[in-house]
Symmetry: C2
Subunit: 587 residues, 2 copies
């Protein structure tokens, strides 16, 4: 390997070790369920990510949870019985006829169609807590009749054509990490599981710096391909797609596109709608394909009409993305502590408006989240820093953490860092060096694994996020937080993870002792209502799906804008076969 | 004035002196028509810009034109008779009923509706050569029945509602600089001339850095408002809208938005679709208003559906734009000469892909344009530089010029400049310092004035532009240039003026001795066909209008994408009253 080769630090390999190890518990350690779920079980479906990777909370975090929820060691001595280790079993007969099934089989081949119970359920749900609770409680509903594994774009086009003729609902399962009931097969029909066969690179264009992929390609496979191009294809540069959502390892390119997703590095690389160059869809009225020209003035932007439709206009088959040169050596890390969340917000706004270039990862946590991170990211062990902070009047629960790093050419990154540092100082930020960011990076893609481990003890972790202008941010934060806190003993952490000169998102994480589905549904729904009432947009990058859809027409967009989407749906899908059953409130 | 105040270099004041003065002609000087056209004349309508500002070609440029077209001083001794100094006179009766007219009058007030011949013609055409030729030849067609001057958004909403009920076509005249027959009143009806009353700032938001304006606000008025805010409103910063098309002084914010325009500084500030935050439209089915949140995942992007509709969905009434802090001291100028156009292209691509931040103005001219600029921008007087270039093997006609400057925070700009310089060297570019850029800046908003002066002698100047990926750029250039050159004695200059990591635009300027409308139409149409056949998008920022529309359905978008726009038109405007008569090929 030449020196040049060694310089590729492969982003897709930068992951945590398989089994998370950290300081052993000093006190009582609950018996967390770290058993790999067996094939065919409910747990194997709802469990986050790799079947053989488990993550348990650090002792400090568990301590905090106990304190906040008034729980004791006793409460952690016995796991709840609904752990999902039972085999999937239910009785929902197929509605598709034998003739229909054999027509579908003729398109994809015998090995690429399945109708067994487990397979049907395995693609029916996403990963919102509502899905997890249903699976833990063996509530099986909304399964497709058949699961297909297409391998070619033409197969998907034929499937959509056939299903339109036969009025068979068509759902798509990419990575399955939807938290909006986006993939749920409310009307039965078929689900196209893209993971198995529809996951390849179609072409790479070195001159234009673009890559075209099948929609089912998963994040790490794409990143590996791009990182390795100097070795596999002799390119001068290694590349990155720049899109790293928390679900990065368990989400597909197609899913990113149809929901308007955002990666954690989006402040530099842009949301997916800024990265997409070209899209190809199989719709009931035929193939829709845009070009890959970066800017034009030839009428409304068709690409932006298709993105965000969440499968209701057609199946996204191929997509071309911009790619970026990989320059990870220029990822300069930073971390600051501000006295208050308001100081942190003001600092964030200034960073975004000063025109010095944007950092890549740029996260600002409110007081409660900062405290939580202290417990979770080993900061509680940094006694000298904590003492210094205390001495300087930074108060736990109020002080707010900023972390992040740069991306881009070296001089660009240096200048961003220089300005971030200068502004942090101006707003009373104390530098913590890059150490906090490094801690955060260790868990950036694996934190969701914690959910399952603590849920076995009745602790629920769920997230919601929204977007707003800067001048409404503190109001949204207060308003939504007040709602969350109206439920006693609920932890609510908030952060900004995607910022713009004109505003940012707010990401709410709530942690509660909560086991009942009805309570979850009511609380979740109230939270969505609070987000809407505060004046924020209901989703910055999770999408709308079927779960948030009831608000889309009446509140988020209003009738006149929602009617535009309805008119488009009618145009593309007059028979309502595409992701039907409430997606975007369209039927 | 404090030091701080003095630091505002007002972009809107940075204009050429009223009467362009330059070195006197040494040889024969034609009698150019520098007479201010009288009120009521055809010339007062077709003349570019201010009635009392005239621009004549420099002696070197005229010499080049004579050489290329085989013309002699004799040809410049007599101006053509169709100079448009006659008063407008025609006989096209009104089709609106007295009742309809008085209903419209009731909405806008007696002083704000006109039906005289001159007023009707003055808003009927734009500024493409086809418009100019028609006016020079007194070809009056497609005039509206009445011209209205609304002052309030509600008035426009009432007008659209009334016209929809009565099936009266509605056209909008912003700045009138369309080169696509975008404003032309093909079906009669009414035209809303926004210049008089609908041109104000609605609100400025310092926290979000946004400004909301009425759609008829003109470029300089907006820029003056933003530049002056520290004096008028005590803001800490002066601001700029960052959008400076060549038509900047004679175009409206609304026109920029509905056509998807681009300013000359767009490589840094973005095209208008990247600058728009919020839009409000009066459509036949009611008011459509988007929010101003910078990013969201709540379905297809309604804002991007409305932009580019060119008035066929409704009348844009109010628009909110991002604004930027004004930091003109950081505009570092650069200029380079490359040996070939291909070297210049390769350099341009590298600048856009190196992730060091983008320059603001970034222009790369091909060999023929470079030669033309040498003649036009005093470079022919820079004998030592020319001698040096020659010595180093840079050949006139082949060598290609790059000029531009940076925008943004100081360190950001310095880094962009550093990288531009480094890469220029790598691609064989010889630095010309910032002097060429300064020359270019002098004429950046006034060059269109040249058109009228030389057209009096039968010399026609017209422009077309398109967009493509990098890997198709040289092909497009060769293909379109070959078409242009198939007509003997035609000058064709080409440049890149808007660049992206994945591609850029190409801007073609053709200059020819041509006076016949049919010849112009055939040549122009052939050029559009050549652009399409070469694989480029037919418009990067001029829009489609009625002139390019015949290609939109069959070639540019194809039927399936064009059908989407048709479906939207049907939704918004079922009676086809909005900018009807061929805009975007919709009726």
């Amino acid at each position: 390997m030449s020196k040049k080769d060694k310089d590729f630090r492969l982003t897709w390999q930068a992951e945590a070790p398989k089994h998370k190890t950290h300081k052993p518990y000093k006190g009582f350690k609950p018996e967390f369920d770290v058993k790999d779920p067996e094939a065919g079980t409910y747990r194997s479906i709802f469990k986050w990510g790799a079947q053989d990777f488990h993550k348990i909370p650090k002792e400090g975090l568990l301590k905090l949870i106990k304190e906040r929820f008034g729980m004791t060691d006793e409460d952690f001595k016995k796991r709840l019985p609904n752990d999902g280790h039972e085999k999937v079993e239910y009785d929902i007969p197929l509605k598709l006829t034998a003739k229909q099934l054999s027509a579908l089989e003729a398109i994809v081949g015998k090995d690429n169609i399945k109708t067994d119970d487990y397979t049907r359920l395995s693609v029916a749900y996403g990963k919102t807590m509502f899905d997890l609770l249903r699976l833990r409680n063996k509530i099986v509903e909304n399964v497709p009749d058949a699961v297909l594994y297409p391998a070619e774009t033409e197969q998907i086009e034929k499937i959509v054509e056939f299903c339109n003729k036969e009025r068979i609902p068509v759902y798509v399962y990419g990575g399955g990490s939807s938290v909006t009931r986006g993939v749920e097969c409310v009307k039965g029909g078929i689900s196209l599981d893209l993971r198995k066969n529809f996951n390849k690179v179609v072409k790479f264009n070195k001159v234009n710096q673009t890559v075209t992929v099948q929609a089912g390609m998963m994040g790490p496979a794409l990143e590996e391909y791009l990182n390795m191009l100097p070795l596999t294809d002799g390119t001068k540069y290694a590349y990155t797609c720049g899109h790293f959502p928390q679900s990065y390892k368990w989400s597909s390119v197609g899913g990113w596109v149809v929901t308007r997703g955002a990666g954690q590095n989006s402040t530099y690389f842009g949301k997916i709608e800024n990265i997409v160059m070209h899209q190809k869809y199989a719709t009931p009225i035929g193939v829709i394909e845009t070009d890959s020209i970066p800017a034009k003035a030839t009428g409304p932007d068709i690409g932006q009409i298709m993105m965000g439709a969440e499968g209701t206009f057609g199946v996204l088959t191929e997509v071309t993305l911009r790619v970026f040169r990989l320059m990870e050596d220029n990822q300069f890390r930073f971390g600051f502590m501000f006295r208050t969340w308001q100081d942190a917000q003001a600092f964030g706004r200034e960073v975004m408006q000063c025109q010095a270039g944007f950092p890549s990862v740029f996260r600002l946590s409110d007081g409660e989240e900062t405290e939580m991170m202290m417990y979770n990211y080993n900061l509680d062990e940094m006694k000298p820093v904590m003492a210094l902070l205390k001495m300087k009047g930074y108060e736990l629960g109020k002080m707010s953490l900023c972390l992040g790093f740069t991306d881009g050419e070296k001089g660009f990154c240096k200048n961003v860092l220089k300005n971030v540092k200068k502004l942090a100082k101006q707003y009373g930020g104390m530098s913590l060096t890059g150490v906090v960011t490094k801690e955060w990076e260790k868990g950036r893609f694996t934190d969701p694994y914690l959910r399952d481990t603590v849920q076995d003890f009745g602790i629920m972790i769920e997230t919601l996020e929204c977007a707003m202008n800067w001048d409404n941010m503190n109001h949204v934060w207060e308003y939504v937080r007040n709602y969350c806190k109206s439920r006693p003993n609920t932890i609510v952490c908030t952060h900004i993870s995607h910022a713009y000169p004109q505003g940012a998102n707010l990401y709410f994480i709530f942690i509660a002792k909560m086991t009942e589905m009805e309570e979850f549904k009511a609380y979740h729904s109230g939270l969505l209502q609070a987000i809407h009432d505060s004046g924020a947009a209901m989703s910055h990058h999770h999408g709308i799906g079927k779960m948030f859809a009831p608000w889309l027409r009446t509140s988020v967009l209003g009738e006149s804008q929602h009617d535009i989407i309805k008119a488009l749906r009618k145009h593309f899908d007059p028979n309502c076969i595409m992701n039907p059953g409430g997606t975007l409130g369209l039927d």
